[in-house]
């Protein structure tokens, strides 16, 4: 009996020692949130913690909604989201104020599979809204033909495909449709999941891609980086200056630069339909959600160091992973916001 007790005590003591030394060796930060920037975040955290004694950052891509919930509950040190938090959501976080730091940019592109069409198709914002609300139901509708002169469009029904899982991609796309179509705004609105007027729901970007490829005469939307990496066909969208633009990393960054002048102090801004001749209209920031107060001085230092690194060195990793880097106007503004972290 006594022997057993001693053993138990020994184990307990060893356990405490291990926990104790772990906390001293390095700072550990835990984050959770958006899946869209998951690839670049894991690259960043990997590179950032390479030097010896660098803070360890663990990021869990569970979705924007989940990230905000965990941050509100205080179970993570920082969150990440593809859509800015609402005023009520920020108020719900009692312990501190949440700061938004844009990290990279993403674009959303219309992708399609139309019989006999091999080239790029052109879309205007209101046309996309009419297609996705079912008003324009055939591919050879005059509204589509008008902006695609010379393309032979089939007289076939359009099959709509959308994301079935809640997603930042859907938020950006419906945010754009709401900004160009008052009818879309009042009837459907913008969100991670919306009440689609019809069509098929597919799970994840890979589900959407598979569904579009497998369904003749279908149309959907995917993230730009997904379309680039999988060499999917995608269309050009007319921007605010009336120019038909195919999304690229440059045109998405240009959208952020175009919106930079009117950028609010807290960075909670939608940059769909941004001004600028070269600005791609369906673009968005993705944000890190950082508390403005840290009780642990080491954690605070780790977060500040990371943000500084992310805004300079981190941005150079973006293009290789098909994310659009921040324009320098935004980087300069964000560096000022870092001072707000206490």
């Amino acid at each position: 009996m006594t022997n057993k007790h001693l053993h138990l005590l020994g184990f307990a003591a060893a356990g405490m020692l291990m926990i104790g030394t772990g906390a001293y060796a390095a700072v550990k930060l835990q984050g959770a949130g958006a899946t869209f920037p998951g690839a670049i975040y894991s690259k960043w955290f990997d590179e950032f913690q390479k030097p010896k004694d660098a803070p360890q950052i663990n990021y869990n891509p569970i979705g924007s909604g989940g990230g905000i919930r965990q941050l509100t509950a205080g179970t993570v040190d920082f969150g990440a989201s593809d859509m800015p938090m609402s005023d009520e959501a920020i108020k719900a976080v009692k312990k501190y104020h949440v700061l938004h730091f844009p990290t990279v940019l993403g674009g959303v592109v219309p992708t399609y599979n139309v019989e006999g069409v091999t080239g790029d198709l052109n879309f205007t914002g209101p046309l996309l809204a009419d297609i996705f609300s079912g008003k324009v139901a055939k591919w050879n509708d005059p509204a589509i033909a008008k902006v695609n002169a010379g393309v032979k469009l089939p007289s076939k029904d359009i099959t709509l495909v959308h994301r079935s899982d809640g997603s930042g991609t859907t938020f950006v796309f419906t945010d754009y449709l709401s900004s160009v179509s008052p009818e879309w705004k009042s009837k459907i609105g913008a969100g991670a999941t919306v009440n689609w007027p019809g069509g098929l729901g597919a799970k994840g970007s890979e589900g959407v891609a598979g569904q579009v490829q497998g369904t003749p005469n279908s149309i959907s939307y995917v993230e730009l980086f997904y379309a680039i990496q999988n060499k999917m066909p995608y269309g050009a969208v007319q921007n605010k200056s009336g120019k038909f633009l195919k999304a690229s990393l440059e045109t998405v960054t240009a959208a952020a630069a175009g919106a930079a002048q009117a950028m609010p102090e807290d960075f909670r801004v939608s940059i769909v339909n941004a001004p600028g001749a070269n600005a791609y209209p369906i673009s968005t920031f993705t944000w890190l959600l950082i508390p403005d107060k840290f009780e642990d001085a080491q954690k605070k230092k780790a977060v500040v160091d990371f943000l500084r690194w992310m805004l300079v060195k981190g941005q150079t990793y973006a293009s290789a992973l098909s994310y659009a880097p921040l324009p320098k106007e935004v980087v300069a503004k964000e560096e000022k916001q870092i001072a707000k972290i206490q």
Partner: protein
């Protein structure tokens, strides 16, 4: 659980005999296994409690309308479960309609008719099929079943049986029919496996008696062995149904995920398990989350009603069986 904490308390004499029995081992085994059994109850109750508590907002807001509303609009804050209940029931019933005759037929062959070696090989394969993860079935369905349905099966059904409302409307490949089929494929091994066990447990005398009375092999199987194994066969059906009701991954990949009630089996639909898996991670706002959790409660309720129904059915039919004896 209460028994264990109260156990050391009783008076000295009783404690002594209790210790005596404890030393025997019987009492200890009894208590420990009782605790394990209670954990089943505890988990079930905890599940209901959690689902009930975390769905309070939507229960208060929508009340019983939740069951009858067809709108699911997270932006407007309108949530109704009807299309999901419909989709869950339609796909599960479709799965059983296909899988039960197939499974029972296969089980009869394996248990009664097949040569032993063939039976062993096939049984091994059935068990292998039952162990395949559902996402594999989902991928299989998405990449092979759906194109076959879209290009051959559904156009054929539409042209031959198109006068029936269940075979009308546009063809996408994905939809109720695809989901029902993949669920049938997934429940099929369970049904074979359990039916086969049930048939094998029928005493040999039953068969011999039937044969002695002049029945053919098939008559003895269909009129004596199968009715004798009725309980096990029904058990397999309800286990298959439980799997179909709760299946998530494979269904969401092929059902089309559109919360609408349509008569056509070609139309896209949605199930309770699929919508929870799809929308839970990005759900913002308390009412939205509460509604998703209430959907979980609804699924629990459906499973409970079906299980209770199964019990009643079994009780009713066994009574009839014994009366005939």
């Amino acid at each position: 659980m209460a028994t264990t904490s109260a156990a050391p308390a009783p008076s000295h004499g009783r404690a002594h005999s209790f210790l005596g029995r404890l030393r025997n081992g019987d009492e200890a085994a009894h208590l420990i296994t009782l605790m394990f059994a209670c954990s089943v109850l505890a988990i079930a109750l905890l599940l209901i409690y959690e689902l009930w508590i975390h769905s309070s907002l939507s229960r208060r807001q929508f009340g019983f309308h939740f069951f009858f509303t067809q709108v699911w609009d997270p932006i407007a804050g309108q949530f109704g479960a009807l299309p999901f209940i419909y989709g869950t029931l339609v796909t599960s019933i479709l799965a059983l309609v296909i899988a039960v005759p197939l499974g029972l037929g296969a089980a009869i062959y394996l248990a009664e008719l097949a040569p032993a070696r063939l039976s062993n090989v096939l049984t091994f394969l059935v068990e292998l099929l039952a162990a395949v993860p559902s996402v594999i079935y989902g991928l299989l369905a998405f990449f092979s079943l759906v194109p076959i349905l879209r290009n051959y099966v559904e156009p054929f059904l539409k042209s031959t049986l198109g006068f029936l409302p269940i075979f009308q409307g546009p063809i996408y490949g994905v939809g109720f029919l695809a989901a029902g089929l993949i669920l049938a494929i997934m429940t099929f091994p369970f049904i074979i496996s359990i039916c086969r066990e049930a048939l094998l447990e029928v005493p040999r005398e039953q068969r011999e008696a039937a044969l002695a009375l002049g029945a053919t092999k098939w008559e003895s199987t269909w009129q004596v062995v199968v009715p004798y194994a009725k309980l096990g066969i029904m058990g397999s059906v309800f286990l298959g149904l439980a799997r179909a009701l709760g299946e998530t991954m494979a269904v969401t990949m092929v059902i089309g995920n559109d919360p609408r009630i349509k008569a056509s089996l070609f139309a896209p639909g949605y199930t309770i398990a699929a919508v929870i898996a799809n929308e839970f991670t990005e759900a913002t706002g308390d009412l939205y989350l509460n509604s998703l959790i209430e959907l979980g409660l609804v699924l629990f309720l459906i499973t409970m009603i079906i299980n209770a129904g199964a019990r009643l059915l079994i009780i009713a039919t066994t009574k009839k069986g014994s009366a005939r004896d």
